[in-house]
């Protein structure tokens, strides 16, 4: 299944994490999300969120200001 793309550019803490949580909550186990955000705090935040919720952070990449996190729902 293709990754579901979520664009949270322009949002500040805690919105990207809140929106990620809402989207992931609705999904089924194994669903993959590609979350893009340009908030500099997003990388440590999404890492901590995944660690705490048990969802898998498959990859984090940066391109300019944009941070893309790939999350697999546990």
């Amino acid at each position: 299944m293709a990754a579901q793309k979520l664009d949270f550019k322009g949002m500040s803490c805690p919105m990207p994490i809140m929106k990620t949580a809402i989207a992931v909550k609705k999904a089924a186990s194994g669903d993959v999300f590609e979350v893009v955000c340009d908030d500099a705090g997003f990388e440590p935040d999404v890492t901590a969120w995944c660690k705490e919720t048990g969802n898998i952070l498959t990859n984090v990449s940066k391109s300019g200001k944009d941070i893309t996190a790939v999350i697999t729902k546990k």
Partner: protein, 179 residues
């Protein structure tokens, strides 16, 4: 006989482990301050914890009550001192002063503007969102009585309670914050 005892011990231990693990999924907060900046911090933390799937209880007391007042709160049915306190205190998240740089009310306007420019969610919407996520708000009955705040003066859906409610929640969580 021995197996039965062993089963019983295992069950007891399982219950204790369940109780300990349930603590990891709970956050208890005291919102004492009615300062815009501190209330903002409290609701960002509450929202973050809710996003992590935790249960969050916020015990709101004293000045913190300003943040959960209805903007339409009136003075009807209150005595002289209660009316005075009601008139002098801000009503609702949009009217709160900042703890620093308040400048007689100009400070908060400045911060609202600066936060808006940086796309930071407003306090009102953070409060609404946390409640949609299931935040449990318990208003301190004693502070309400002291300041003449009635149940209908506060936003709908809050519970009421005292120190025992807060402590009982706090003992059942592994994190408790006082803001």
């Amino acid at each position: 006989m021995e197996t039965m005892e062993l089963d019983k011990t295992v069950q007891e231990l399982q219950a204790r482990v369940d109780k300990l693990e349930s603590k990891n999924s709970k956050l208890t907060m005291v919102l004492f301050s009615g300062d815009f900046d501190k209330v903002m911090a409290a609701f960002i933390i509450a929202n973050g914890a809710l996003a992590m799937g935790k249960e969050v209880t916020m015990f709101v007391t004293f000045w913190g009550l300003d943040a959960i007042k209805k903007p339409t709160m009136g003075t009807a049915g209150k005595n002289f001192l209660e009316k005075m306190v009601t008139m002098m205190r801000p009503k609702g998240p949009a009217k709160l002063p900042t703890s620093k740089m308040n400048f007689g009310g100009i400070g908060p306007k400045l911060f609202h503007y600066m936060m808006g420019k940086k796309n930071v969610e407003s306090l009102s919407s953070l409060i609404d969102m946390s409640r949609e996520f299931g935040l449990r708000i318990v208003a301190c009955q004693m502070s309400m009585d002291v300041m003449g705040i009635k149940a209908e003066d506060l936003i709908d859906g809050v519970e009421f309670g005292g120190v025992a409610v807060f402590l009982s929640e706090s003992y059942g969580s592994n994190t408790t914050l006082f803001v």
